[in-house]
Amino acid sequence: MDQAPPAVQAEGVVKRFGPTVALDGVRLTVQPGESHALVGRNGAGKSTLVSVLTGLHKADAGTVAFGGEPAPAFGDTAAWQSRIACVYQKSMVVPDLTVAENLFLNRFDDNARWISWGRLRRRAERLLADYGVQVDPSTRARDLAVEQRQFVEIARALSFGARLIVLDEPTAQLDARGIGRLFGKLRELQAQGVAFLFISHHLQEVYELCTAVTVYRDARHVLTAPVADIAKAELVAAMTGEQSAGATAWHAGGDGAAAPDESAEPVLRTEGLTVQGQFEPLDLEVRPGEVLGLAGSAASGNTALGETLAGMRKAGGGTVRVHGRAVRSGSVPHALDAGIGYIPEDRHDQGLVLERSVAENATLTVTDQLGPWGTVLPSRTREFARSVIASLDIKTQGPEQPVSGLSGGNQQKVVVARALAREPSVLVAVRPTAGVDIKSKDSLLGVVRRVADEGNAAVIISDELDDLRVCDRVLALFHGRVVATFASGWNDGELVAAMEGVGERE
């Protein structure tokens, strides 16, 4: 007696985008009821495989089978949907439609001819309540915060009732509490025998949730193994192809970098800075060579604080000074001129011009330095782009490739490159490593550290402990207030507790 056929089985899948080979004869098998992790560096081909498995892209070669039957014809999306549901890495909401409509897009009601909006709203309300998301279903999707939008997409995918669900980096935009809620849901579904394909750059999540793991590297299959049989170091080695890749998360004060000079004039100083309903008046001082962490979940107001520093939001009161000079609030050009570089949270909305090339995106803030008298010299742009591609290890065909053709993590690196292009004296980074693979994460954080070590100030806004580890000082925010301050060398548990609002210290 043979066992049940695999929930999904892909064999020899090849996918090319022009000269790029995104998948080179890869395979993947997910057993029924199994939670299978797919890991690999940025650009390894994970999301491409997801689009092939969900019928969005047609593979150039190879076969896909669901439960032993060959996949539906390409283009018959409805047939694919009955087999597989998916949370895509890029946003798949329609910004001008309401949350309720986005949740039930194209599957409003099977038996009724007319859509009943009242009923739809109530269904949406129940679905959202189930995920603890507090949004009015009649809000338009464009008005949602990043995390809320992510939950809308997750709730939508999970509500299909499919036996196989793909999650492409669902946690990259969630804070710890959100991840907890998501995992709770996933475990419930696991108990019902639903199979998962789970993609993440957080290996601890893989260990927490999954039973088997597949590693891709450079568009090829490297290994598949039960999670229990493989140590984290081995996994990282398989992803990077280097044995020595120890988990060297960055630490402040290592490498004999000079400790920030206490007596130096602060580079960045805020006095009574506040935004109504987001965070309370806040005095900050960041000295040359210092990396300041602002830890807190999405609801803590730290993202709003970052946006205010970068000029994306107008402050309700208070001042921001860089090198003692006041910066006009609510104006990005003034913030840029004052030397504030910004890495935004939402790379699609605020970060990138997707159809333009890597070179143009990376140099968007420095067009005035690329040639005399307002000209932009292509040679200089290219040269500049080449240097950032090399220094940040961006995987691209070249400076001319449109950003839309980069993998998610590599897009994030272009955003970082642009913030660094102006050699800012203050770097404000909101979750700079969201969606970035383990190795690149190290190098990105290294870059932030280097910016500070050159005598500038850096502010990292995040709830990821790895991001915060490079900081010399971490302020924990909760509901718009600083609830605790930590010097480097803090203890994980205490910081997490402070971010969640327990154990206030001050």
């Binding site: 929930a7 029924p32 969900t54 969005l56 669901f66 439960g67 032993g68 039957e69 283009g75 999306t77 409805a78 694919w80 949907q81 009955s82 087999r83 998916c86 895509y88 890029k90 946003s91 798949m92 909401v93 329609v94 910004p95 001008d96 439609l97 409509e101 897009l105 194209n106 599957r107 409003f108 001819r113 007319w114 859509i115 009943s116 909006w117 009242g118 009923r119 709203r121 109530r122 269904r123 949406a124 129940r126 679905l127 309540a129 189930d130 009649s138 709730a155 999970l158 509500s159 299909f160 009732g161 499919a162 036996r163 196989l164 849901k185 419930e188 579904l189 019902q192 025998g193 639903v194």
Partner: protein, 350 residues
Amino acid sequence: MTGTVRPLAADGIDSGPKGSPAGERPLDRLKLIRWSDFSLVPVILVLMLIGFIVSPVFLTSENLISVVQQSSELSLLVLGQALILICGRMDLSLESTIGIAPVVAMWLVLPSEGGRFAGLGLLPTWSAIPLCLLVGLAIGAVNGFLMLKLRVNGFIATLGMLTMLRGLHIGITEGKSITDVPESFRYLGKSEWLGAPAAVWICLALFAVGGAALAWLRHGRSLYAIGGNPEAARAAGIRVDRVTWIVLAIGGLLAAFAGILYTGHYGSVAATQGNGWIFQVFAAAVIGGISLKGGRGTLFGALTGVLTLQLVVNVMTLGGVPALWNQFLNGAIIIVALVISRFASGEKQD
């Protein structure tokens, strides 16, 4: 693998008695209405007041009926264009379709001798209307083929169609007007139902049907998803290309129908029928709150856009603006109407 698990939430809970919208609070309903769709209603009222002040003729039923009659053909083009724009596409060739579709139909049915215009006389006269509609449908389908199968730029492709069809029109008619209009065209264009021109009722009915489909039908809603985020629409199982193609064909069909009404109303097809209309069509759509980038706007808004535009023109005419200044005013009117609607709705236009 076809079995499904019990979904986590919501689905299936709606097992209560059918058609009992329990807990439907009126306030919720109010919240669902997008007020910006109605923003032109006060503007229209103000225009009517101004019209009344400018000229006592304005509020007579003849004048008002002539305004709506003149709006009816334009509004059908706007209806088609609005559907296409909501899908995130555009079709410039509508303004030529309104002329070429009746011309081709008449060319095929009119006898080859006897009349001033020598047709082919291939088909019976009763087939004029179906033929005309078919031509419109075919033009829309060709546009769809160019944009969706060949993936050429829609703006330029339909601009090419516009010019080409205009040329075809002139070629077939040798630049002259056709006055031997079939009786069926005349009937639709001229007759009155319940005291108002039939064309007006037909237009209203078509807008109502279209509006209801966009608001309450799955396929109607899919237009917004396609225009708003085509990838998300595709991932949600909407057949983006098929729906867009159908919408383009419907656009052509509506333009052909507008051609029938127009031809019937004036009793002839001029060589310039529809010439320059596309500007008004786009203007009315945008004034009515339809986004040129797709995914936004309603048919009600589009209809108020048409009415606003026509009322301003009417008020100007009644005000006795000299004809030589018409073109200047046409441009100025559109800009003014655009600005008014921008601020009346409080939404950015794009």
